[in-house]
């Protein structure tokens, strides 16, 4: 077994097992923490695919940002009194059916419809940021800018929601 395979299987197992735990765990905080390992495993797989920038962004945005926000949300929710946070799984059978159909469709497309391109495993480029940067600022510059504006609007909206009115304070 090559080192590459070993690492791949390690990350794959981490991702799949922790993702399964996220879904099945009855404790919300446990689910949140397990999500950390899922993100981490996915980032590892990105690295193995040669997408280093995506991997790092995955860690930076999802682990450093979104997951922390998620955990904050859970921990600051009012009704929490102890470590044991329970959540019920309400409709297991419909969920399994729905996910099963979706998964089946996805694998079917991946298996039969995709034109697989054979490339050498070792990626030739040492980094992807130069290409990414060029693409973002040439072909996709409009989308990039629009996304930026969207995020800015969201930010301003959030700030205006969170702001306390001065009149309210006076009462």
């Amino acid at each position: 077994m090559e080192l590459y395979d070993l690492i791949f299987y390690f990350f794959a197992i981490v991702t799949v097992v922790s993702a399964f735990m996220v879904v099945t765990s009855k404790n919300i905080v446990h689910a949140g923490f397990n999500l950390l390992f899922t993100f981490f495993g996915v980032a590892g797989i990105y690295v193995l695919l040669g997408a280093d920038f995506i991997a790092v962004v995955q860690l930076l945005v999802y682990v450093g940002g979104i997951l922390i926000l998620l955990l904050f949300g859970i921990m600051l929710t009012n009704k929490i009194t102890s470590v044991e946070l329970r959540t019920g799984t309400a409709h297991i059978i419909p969920a399994v059916i729905g996910v099963g159909i979706f998964w089946g469709a996805l694998t079917a497309i991946v298996a039969f419809k995709t034109d697989w391109v054979e490339v050498n495993t070792a990626s030739t480029e040492s980094t992807t940021i130069i290409g990414l940067g060029n693409l973002l600022l040439t072909d996709y510059v409009l989308i990039f800018e629009l996304l930026g504006i969207l995020l800015l609007v969201a930010l301003i909206g959030a700030a205006s929601f969170a702001r306390r009115e001065i009149e309210e304070l006076k009462d």
Partner: protein, 355 residues
């Protein structure tokens, strides 16, 4: 290093494990030295002596601490979420350990010469936040939870000015790789980034004040990122007992300790790579004058460690100078002062690099 080990051993897996374990050889002695230094510096700044009676002038103090922590009972209280409680210290340590993979100790040794070096370091330190949150939550202790939430809020907020300053340095040097960044500041100290980089021109002079400002901003926000005084809100012992590690004892606590000191060195090393020439000597190499090429990498490791330890010393110096800031002051410093200045700095450096 990894390629060298592969040639030497012939087995990829073993070579990978060995090269991954190498930073431990640096971290553990550094922590043993760093804790002692902290106590000695603290002592002398308060006109006392610090550890004196364990070994000559207390040099074995940390070794004794370490052996004692090994012997301590490992308490896992009843209401604790055991699985993640036991895992959290290792996650925190893993986060700060992973940073060492990208630090260029010398031109010959760098754990993994990633092109995204500095970006990777910011990303990986997110693991530390997650680990601290995990520790705080699973301890089932309100002080731990407060500490963890404070710590997470603080680190996430201060990541922004840090990232902005790093961005301006990336704009200046045009690379994300730490090894390349160090290589650009080679030879003498006036080539360091804080003195405007290696190129002699008018822009170099223009850059100097903004580089100094950038250094200050980066140093302040990195202090907050490693939870050092005056930003040690998460551990604030007068209000929060011990913060997120209140419930940890024995060897698990020592993992937190190890991670804290490893982090301190990591950010100091980052400061030295970004602004102070990384592993390069400020005054030229002995190896060059003697004609011994083989000596140079060792000298570089020495300079790298020396610069890192100097900035760790400055952290300690600040610790015994400043009182702890309040939470609202902490957030004011970040959002009202550091971030606008960092933006301004970014803008000006961008304009200067363009002309």
């Amino acid at each position: 290093m990894y390629d060298f080990l592969v040639d030497l051993i012939g087995n990829e897996i073993i070579a990978a494990f060995i090269s991954a374990a190498l930073p431990v050889v640096f971290i553990v002695p550094f922590v043993i030295f760093g804790v002692l230094m902290e106590r000695k510096v603290a002592g002398h700044m308060q006109d006392r002596l610090g550890p004196m009676r364990v070994g000559y002038h207390g040099i074995l103090q940390t070794v004794a601490d370490f052996f004692k922590l090994l012997q301590k009972e490992d308490i896992v209280a009843d209401g604790i979420d055991k699985k993640f409680f036991n895992f959290a210290p290792y996650l925190v340590f893993a986060g700060s350990y992973a940073v060492y993979a990208a630090l260029p100790f010398s031109s010959k040794y760098i754990g993994a010469d990633i092109d995204l070096g500095i970006f990777y370091i910011i990303a990986v330190s997110g693991l530390v936040v997650a680990g601290i949150l995990m520790a705080g939550w699973t301890s089932n202790n309100k002080y731990s939870l407060y500490g963890a939430l404070r710590s997470a809020a603080q680190i996430v907020s201060y990541e922004i000015p840090t990232a902005l300053i790093i961005l301006s340095m990336v704009m200046l040097t045009g690379t994300l790789s730490l090894a390349e960044m160090s290589e650009m500041q080679t030879a003498y100290f006036w080539n360091w980034n804080i003195f405007g980089g290696a190129e002699w021109s008018f822009t170099k002079l223009l850059l100097i004040p903004f580089m100094f400002a950038g250094f200050l901003l980066f140093y302040i926000s990195s202090l907050a990122e490693v939870n050092r005084t005056p930003f040690d809100m998460p551990e604030a012992e007068s209000e929060l007992v011990g913060g997120y590690h209140t419930e940890y004892s024995g060897i698990k606590f020592s993992m937190f300790f190890l991670a804290e000191y490893a982090n301190m060195f990591a950010v100091s090393a980052l400061v030295s790579v970004l602004f102070f020439g990384g592993y390069h000597s400020p005054i030229g190499y002995v190896g060059n004058t003697l004609g011994l090429e083989a000596l140079i990498p060792f000298e570089q490791v020495f300079w790298f460690a020396a610069k890192g330890i100097f900035f760790v010393f400055v952290q300690m110096w600040l610790r015994w100078t400043l009182p702890r800031v309040r939470v609202d002051q902490l957030m004011t410093i970040c959002w009202k002062y550091l971030i606008p200045y960092a933006f301004l700095n970014l803008l000006i450096i961008g304009i200067i690099t363009l002309i």
